[in-house]
């Protein structure tokens, strides 16, 4: 691909740190690394408080992506890998995090992270990731009680949305807002398969539909697909959405409307839920280890 071609699906990678916090002298520094199929995140907690994180695209080499994510999270923090007491790897590439002390499933980590981000009242977490979509039920401690997932089909996933952003030449970050800017809600795209939905969208454009209208039809189809997953497991209040699609107001608004339920808002980045949960597990595990040694 030449450089002149804009890749509309390409979302921005970033890192963040709390400049008011000083990790020196901290009792526990724990880390979580979530190597997903599309994106990877690393989260660093200092005594259980969010200190730094990164969010980037997963490359073709999982160990390399894990290393890059943690290095980027540590940027300008003065920390090195040796300063981190315990690291938990999660996500589909969790066994490929070379510096992790342990691997924990992303389902458990999302529930744990969701509990931290949205508070103990959250009972249903919908994680809309790059290549899968999970509905997780959890208790007040963030422990998983049930879950359902779709990881076979791109309909209802971030990857599907990337394909559409590219097809319509709309930056992935703008898809949600644009899709809400329609006078009247169009009927949803009828094809389930993203490949077929693409040809459906092309013919809608040829019929004279605006990009906004096509995006509205697609966001509404995606919301509808996910609602059927949620209905199978039975949504319990409170309800929250994590993952990249949680940032797409077009899908979230339509989902809330169809469920007749408002999703909880969080001050934290919705894409770090898995890595955050992993870092929380890491903290608990290192403290347990210390207790054992002390006895």
């Amino acid at each position: 691909m030449t450089e002149q071609v804009k890749e509309y699906w390409r979302w921005k990678e970033y890192n963040w740190r709390d400049k008011n916090m000083d990790p020196k002298g901290a009792e526990t520094i724990s880390a979580g690394v979530d190597v997903g199929s599309v994106s990877s995140q690393a989260v660093i907690l200092v005594d259980g408080k969010l200190f730094a994180y990164s969010n980037m695209r997963t490359g073709s080499d999982s160990p390399d992506s894990a290393r890059k994510a943690i290095t980027w999270a540590m940027e300008n923090t003065g920390l090195t890998l040796d300063d981190i007491h315990y690291t938990v790897g999660t996500g589909y590439g969790r066994v490929n995090v070379p510096f992790a002390d342990r691997a924990i499933t992303e389902i458990a980590c999302h529930a744990r992270g969701g509990n931290f981000m949205y508070g103990s009242s959250v009972r249903t977490i919908l994680d809309m990731g790059g290549q899968d979509c999970k509905a997780i039920l959890c208790d007040e401690k963030g422990k998983v009680t049930n879950f359902l997932m779709n990881d076979k089909c791109a309909a209802g996933t971030g990857r599907g949305m990337e394909v559409f952003a590219d097809l319509l030449s709309v930056s992935i970050e703008d898809v949600g807002e644009m899709s809400l800017d329609v006078d009247e809600e169009p009927p949803p795209v009828s094809s389930t398969c993203v490949v077929f939905a693409k040809s459906e969208a092309s013919s809608l454009l040829r019929e004279g539909w605006s990009k906004k209208r096509v995006l509205a039809a697609y966001c509404s189809a995606m919301a509808h697909r996910v609602v059927s997953l949620l209905e199978r497991i039975g949504v319990q209040k409170e309800f929250a959405i994590t993952g990249g699609i949680a940032k797409n107001a077009g899908v979230v608004t339509r989902l809330e409307k169809e469920l007749d339920l408002t999703a909880l808002k969080s001050q934290y980045d919705t894409q770090i839920a898995g890595a955050l949960g992993a870092a929380l597990f890491a903290k608990a595990l290192v403290e347990k280890q210390r207790k054992k040694v002390a006895q």
Binding site: S37, Q131, C153, G160, T192, V194, V195, F196
Partner: protein, 258 residues
């Protein structure tokens, strides 16, 4: 007696002119934006090839996904009915027809008269259709023709984890990064589609002889993968892509006579 069958496919429109039970002419036109106009064009081409005028056609029967939008037709028939009729006209011993087009896959069980006993269809997911092979050929940056031929050069089984065409595209890219030879990737893709289709066809039961029709039958890599998955020989009739249109033309002549 002259009749015509017109198959309004997702990608191509096919027309067959039948004169006293023999194919007199055929034509294929890209469906394009205006399928009604493309259909008229296709029929005119087929008539020209047959050396007849469109006005000489006694009865026109349409089939395919867009069969209702075909112009000036006398009747229509389902894809399944047309494929069964068409294959029966060409190969009397066929009891199972596997019809794989760009966006649909079908398994049809039929009697010796060409009557349909049972069928299964996939129209929801690209993983069991020609669109899957097309997307993967694109990811490998080879033409579809080359892709099918490449597959025959490999004798290695490489598993594909992804079922979804969108996810499989990323998997193909990872396989390329892992330096998997192109021919092995091509074989893996054809194996994936054929295993999808075979599991669908098994639902109706597979009886000998088995024939493959539809656009994907032109892909030798797929034909090979399918016969390996079925552990049976798969016959591909000449002009396999026109079987639906032929079936419609046969039905048209039956409807004139009755």
């Amino acid at each position: 007696m002259i009749t015509a069958g017109i198959d309004m496919g997702a990608k191509y429109i096919k027309a067959v002119i039948l004169k006293d039970g023999e194919i007199a002419g055929k034509a294929k036109v890209a469906t394009g934006f205006d399928s009604t106009e493309s259909a008229s064009e296709c029929l005119a081409q087929a008539a020209k090839e047959s050396g007849i005028g469109v006005a000489d056609i006694k009865h026109i029967t349409s089939t395919g996904a867009g069969r209702k939008s075909a112009p000036n037709i006398n009747s229509d028939i389902t894809d399944v009915g047309a494929a069964a009729k068409g294959i029966n006209h060409l190969m009397k011993n066929v009891r199972t027809v596997i019809d794989v087009g760009a966006e649909e896959g079908r398994g049809i069980k039929l009697e010796e008269t060409g009557k349909v006993v049972d069928f299964a269809v996939n129209e929801k997911c690209a993983a069991g259709a020609g669109a899957f092979a097309e997307a993967m050929a694109r990811a490998l940056e080879v033409s579809l023709e080359e892709f099918g031929k490449l597959s025959l050069q490999s004798d290695k089984t490489t598993p594909m984890n992804a079922q979804c065409a969108v996810f499989a595209e990323s998997e193909v890219v990872s396989l390329v990064h892992a330096k998997t030879p192109k021919q092995d990737i091509a074989r893996a893709v054809h194996d994936a589609i054929s295993s999808r289709i075979v599991s669908m066809v098994r639902r109706v039961g597979i009886n000998k002889d088995v024939a493959l029709v539809g656009g994907v039958s032109y892909n030798p890599g797929f034909v090979d993968a399918l016969s390996r998955a079925l552990e049976m020989e798969v016959s591909v009739p000449k002009d396999a892509e026109f079987v639906g249109a032929l079936g419609a033309a046969v039905v048209a002549s039956e409807r004139v006579q009755s």
